[in-house]
């Protein structure tokens, strides 16, 4: 096996999976879909990771500020990102290599170890966990209060940290651990959907406005509209999502016969849950806070403003529960991302039974400080700046690997459309970098 997380998955199991996939391919579409849902996993992990505090805040703000009108950006964003994700699936199933290792050989340690592994995975996982913890512990306190229990942030961080650390560490316990974490993520996404869906039943949907928002592009006028489109399209799926999907596939022992499953997992596991949850959250806020004047900008304040508008205590409880799952799943994913990133940064062999692996998984838990102290804003701004300036370079590197005959041989991209899709996402990331520089130079007002 090329990645030690897959050690515990016996070859017979992988062969049986491949045989099931072959059989499902010739079966009816419903049974094929159910097979993909059952055997998929990395896609669901990716959806749970990307649906974090940041994406949720963006969805809430979008609904509260613009109603349904910017819904179309969500499927454009996820759609353009899927081409790069398909490249990662190709590296996993046909290449069967650790992509950062190969990247390092072909494009140097600076792009591979520093920009991709350290900046794109480690820094992201450690710093972005502060936001998840701040939101998660706040929601735990609010949820407990709704149930008449006092469970303040200064205590509940222990529960939050223990739960997320335990689940993240479970991932390293062989095939059963991988399946356990994947099942947890699938159930968590279901809870999000059911909980937010229950709120939407209370609020109601303006279907004609929603359909117009989904299919008729609209942006606010001027530079704000361009900013919104570029930032939203490029942020939905980033370097951490690309690389995490690849390594999560390696952890499942995926080989050439799993490529169809990997691609299906991108649709059923990543894109569909992301789009559904995003749609429901935008719709809840479009149906309540839209047009109500001065709006708060943080997730906690937005959810507090929503509470009285939901009316029913049950709906409030459902919203808080669904919302609590958001940072928990992201914190779990960030622990695994950090461990993979640190091991790839230093070229360590990822022995999941070692204390080093466990320490790396637990490193983002430093974000638990956010339950009592403000998040390190300056550091987050600096890292976000580096990310804005470097994500496109990582994208270039993966595009070149996908077209590199010496790396993938006959399995390199032979599709004009696939390359075009990858290049469109790279162009969006180039624009993010350019806009960051323009903003600093005062050229983008």
């Amino acid at each position: 096996m090329v990645y030690p997380l897959a050690d515990a998955i016996p070859q017979e199991t992988l062969d049986a999976e491949a045989a099931t996939l072959e059989a499902a391919r010739s079966g009816p579409i419903l049974s094929r879909l159910l097979t993909y849902l059952r055997l998929g996993g990395p896609g669901f992990m990716g959806a749970a990771l990307t649906l974090g505090a940041g994406t949720m805040t963006a969805a809430m703000l979008s609904g509260a500020q613009f109603g349904y009108r910017t819904l179309w950006i969500s499927w454009v964003a996820i759609g353009s990102g899927l081409f790069m994700m398909a490249a990662m699936a190709r590296f996993t199933t046909r290449g069967r290599f650790r992509v950062i290792e190969v990247q390092s050989e072909r494009h140097g340690w600076f792009v591979a170890r520093l920009l991709t592994a350290f900046l794109g995975l480690v820094c992201v996982s450690v710093l972005f966990n502060f936001g998840q913890v701040a939101l998660g512990t706040h929601l735990l306190e609010s949820l407990a209060e709704t149930a008449g229990v006092h469970f303040p942030q200064r205590w509940n961080w222990l529960f939050y940290g223990a739960l997320t650390a335990w689940i993240s560490l479970s991932y390293g316990r062989g095939g059963r651990g991988v399946r356990f974490v994947e099942t947890f993520m699938k159930l968590a996404l279901l809870v999000m959907l059911l909980a937010f869906g229950a709120c939407l039943l209370v609020v109601g949907v303006d279907w004609s406005a929603a359909l117009r928002g989904l299919f008729v592009p609209w942006l606010p006028r001027g530079a704000a509209g361009v900013d919104l489109f570029i930032a939203s399209s490029a942020a939905a799926i980033g370097v951490a999502d690309w690389v995490f999907f690849h390594y999560a596939g390696l952890a499942k022992g995926w080989g050439p016969r799993h490529e169809g499953l990997a691609r299906a997992d991108l649709f059923t596991g990543l894109a569909l849950p992301f789009l559904l949850v995003y749609f429901v959250v935008v719709s809840v806020f479009a149906g309540t806070l839209y047009g109500s004047g001065d709006l708060p900008t943080s997730a906690t304040d937005l959810s507090a403003a929503l509470m009285p508008l939901l009316g029913e205590t049950g709906a409030q409880f459902a919203f808080l529960l669904g919302f609590l799952v958001v940072p928990i799943t992201t914190s779990v994913g960030l622990g695994i991302v950090c461990a993979v990133g640190l091991h790839e940064t230093f070229g360590w062999d990822p022995d999941v039974r070692s204390w080093r692996w466990k320490a790396c998984v637990l490193l983002p838990q430093v974000g638990l400080l956010a339950s009592s102290y403000p998040s390190p804003l300056l550091l987050i701004i600096v890292i976000a700046a580096f990310l804005a300036l470097s994500n496109n370079v990582v994208g270039w590197s993966f595009y070149l690997l996908l077209n590199d005959a010496e790396v993938l041989g006959e399995h390199r991209s032979k599709s004009y459309l696939w390359n075009l899709g990858v290049l469109l996402q790279i162009t969006l990331l180039n624009c993010v970098a350019a806009l960051w520089v323009f903003n600093r130079l005062g050229l983008w007002e």
């Binding site: 070149l400 041989g409 390199r412 469109l424 790279i426 162009t427 624009c431 323009f438």
Partner: protein
């Protein structure tokens, strides 16, 4: 055009990515001038957008030959 041909330290395909970045910057700079109602913005925007389109259409061509 063989995009896999080495040209200096990199393949032509990699140079194409750099050229695409420059075209993106040009288009965005033109857009910033258009939005700020400054002169010359439309020309830069159109040239940058056309160069971007050209880069994408050329770079999307898959590598030929070299199967192992």
């Amino acid at each position: 055009m063989n995009l896999e041909r080495p040209l200096g330290p990199m393949r032509l395909r990699a140079w194409g990515l750099l050229f695409n970045l420059l075209a993106n910057v040009l288009a965005l700079y033109g857009l910033s001038r258009v939005l700020g109602e400054k002169p010359g913005g439309w020309l830069l925007l159109v040239v940058g957008a056309l160069l971007t389109l050209g880069c994408l259409l050329v770079l999307a061509r898959p590598a030929a030959g070299g199967d192992s």
